[in-house]
């Protein structure tokens, strides 16, 4: 603490250049929450603008490049991925599936925290924009955040999607649709399943589709901005359809995707979409976070070197090297200008 006081004193020593740090702890906390906010509180507007604009712009650029999915502390453990494709996994490896299912049931969840993303701790100093990741992580891993299944409650959502079907004459169609989907759990031929309707707009005006079967919909909290939905379509208006599937994307609210850990699918998608830019985007956010440590320290203790840069005049007496003394009594020396 003594070091800090001494350091602070050095920074603001000259009376005409005295900086009023007000309450340095409060300034540091504000600076941690929003880059530059501590300096605005202290009335150091110019530096506040530099910190706020540079750090937040750098952070936002990185986030935008990384599709706003770069802030997470723990990524999901890969071993549990199979849960998103139960049936296929069960078919491929029934014994392992049963073991896994048992383990998951004991844990009471289908997702588990995997390896730590150490870069998060470099991003964390941009406080308000990174710390809520802790809350989002808890929400993401809680057992109730499950994909929609036949055991789920009624679904009533606005969707944008595609209806792919084969009609009774054997012709294939792919129809872009948008509208409202309403589904509720029913007892079907093969156990519990979802049943309901889609009503909205297709290519040729208003349409109504009856839906039934095993619905798949991503969990409510997830890193993607949309939840994928897939359900079998049975009729289109009065027309019976064969092999019809409605696939759609349902918008997640901001609070349900911002700072949520991305699953492996989302990460792989990001890697394939961005290539080298994925790492670059992370570097932007890391550097922004690390630079904010300098800003926080500045809000707490003042500038590191002093009020202003020394002028050349001020620098010269210290920096000017002394003329090296000529070695004495060197018989071979001919350059000496000081023979005495």
């Amino acid at each position: 603490m003594g070091f800090i006081q001494k350091f602070t004193f050095m920074s603001v020593s000259s009376p005409e250049t005295k900086i009023d740090l007000k309450n340095p702890i409060l300034a540091a906390v504000l600076g941690f929450l929003i880059p530059g906010a501590g300096h605005f509180y202290q009335g150091r507007t110019f530096k506040g603008i530099i910190y706020c604009v540079c750090i937040l712009a750098m952070f936002a650029c990185g986030m935008q490049m990384g599709n706003w999915q770069l802030i997470y502390r723990k990524e999901p453990a890969k071993i549990f991925d199979f849960d998103f494709d139960d049936a296929r996994f069960r078919q491929l490896d029934p014994e392992r599936f049963d073991d896994m299912r048992q383990q998951l049931d004991q844990m009471g969840t289908t997702r588990a925290r995997g390896k730590t993303e150490w870069g998060y701790y470099a991003q964390a100093p941009v406080g308000l924009f990174t710390i809520p990741a802790f809350i989002q992580e808890e929400r993401y891993y809680q057992p109730s955040n499950e994909p929609i299944s036949p055991e789920s409650k009624t679904i009533n959502q606005e969707i944008v999607g595609n209806l792919d079907y084969v009609n009774d004459e054997g012709k294939e169609f792919s129809l872009p649709v948008s509208g409202t989907i309403q589904l509720s759990p029913e007892d079907g031929e093969f156990g519990r399943e979802m049943e309901g309707t889609f009503s909205g707009k297709g290519d040729n005006g208003e349409i109504e589709v009856s839906l039934r079967g095993n619905v798949r919909m991503d969990p409510p909290v997830g890193a993607n901005h949309y939840r994928n939905l897939r359900i079998n379509a049975i009729t289109l208006g009065d027309e019976q359809i064969i092999d019809g599937v409605l696939t759609a994307q349902v918008k997640r609210s901001f609070l349900n995707w911002f700072l949520v850990p991305p699953d492996h699918e989302a990460l792989e998608q990001l890697h394939s979409d961005l290539g080298k830019k994925f790492t670059l985007a992370k570097v932007f956010t890391w550097i922004a976070g690390l630079l904010n440590i300098l800003a926080i320290w500045d809000a707490y203790a003042g500038p590191a070197y002093g009020y202003r840069m020394p002028t050349r005049k001020e620098e010269s007496p210290e920096k000017k090297p002394e003329r090296p003394s000529v070695p004495e009594a060197s018989p071979s020396s001919t350059t000496s200008q000081n023979p005495g």
């Binding site: 250049t17 530099i50 750090i55 080298k276 550097i287 630079l291 800003a295 500045d298 590191a304 840069m309």
Partner: protein, 68 residues
């Protein structure tokens, strides 16, 4: 490929160094001094130092990878 055409590619991620260097120079310099002129002067100097250093590294790597 010659060095200039490599740099001229718009998707070359090396160009991201420039805004990054501007931000780093300004923030670092602002944490060293309080006076506006001192911050800006030092930031400009630091920006050129970073840019020149990166260009030298780029040149060395380009020479080393010549005809690879």
């Amino acid at each position: 490929m010659n060095a200039w055409s490599l740099l001229a590619q718009s998707e070359n991620i090396l160009w991201y160094i420039l805004p990054l260097a501007v931000g780093i120079s300004l923030v670092y310099s602002a944490s060293r001094y309080e006076e506006k002129d001192s911050i800006l002067r030092r930031a400009m100097r630091l920006f050129f130092q970073i840019t020149i250093f990166m260009f030298v590294v780029f040149s060395v790597l380009w020479v080393l990878s010549y005809r690879l």
